[in-house]
Symmetry: C2
Subunit: 132 residues, 2 copies
Amino acid sequence: MSAPGPPSAVRPSDLDPRIAARLKRDADGLIAAVVQQHGTGEVLMVGWLDDEALHRTLTSGRATYWSRSRQEYWVKGATSGNRQWVREVRLDCDGDALLVTVEQEGPACHTGTRTCFDADVLLAAATEGADG
Amino acid sequence: MSAPGPPSAVRPSDLDPRIAARLKRDADGLIAAVVQQHGTGEVLMVGWLDDEALHRTLTSGRATYWSRSRQEYWVKGATSGNRQWVREVRLDCDGDALLVTVEQEGPACHTGTRTCFDADVLLAAATEGADG
């Protein structure tokens, strides 16, 4: 007689149940978050949040993720000092992706680059005006 | 005596093996892709690509995804006409997220909004200059 509810991968959380009800989590209870710099529009990184990481991100003002490798919460910048101050959080149309707009202090990437997408270009944009 | 190789979830693909070797796929053989409008920086949507979807995205000029619900490839806009013309593709520092820069025709979201993040604001940005 188990009641309907979130999958067992979901850890206990104080997240607003009205928000929790709209989330579509993966098998590990996580949602992908696109992290974007306010103003410039730079895509800084992709992180992963469970319900509690989202709760902390929404209420603390600091972007907080679930570390899949360490299996623990991490407040971005707690060690590195490269903190992310949360300005806005949006959920996508089907509830399985977040857009977190932040003010990024310093580099977002642990490699020291501004974004996590700076180093590995698989396809480069054509030169502007090349055909004209 | 099975040879080392990608997990069984990886479908056959013509993707350049030098790129395939850098990908860190999830248990379903997929990588999350952030799709961004060229020029404006709008984050339009998050899609999912397997090796072959990435190969097609890199070589066809049209953003191509793996549909997790339909379990098939879909070329964005093939049905709706809201096509995405690929300008640039980047892989992140740990190989598990893509940034695909596109020229989006029409709305990116199947709901008819410009982006998939337009409707559900969980946390709104503070008003500029509110404290002074």
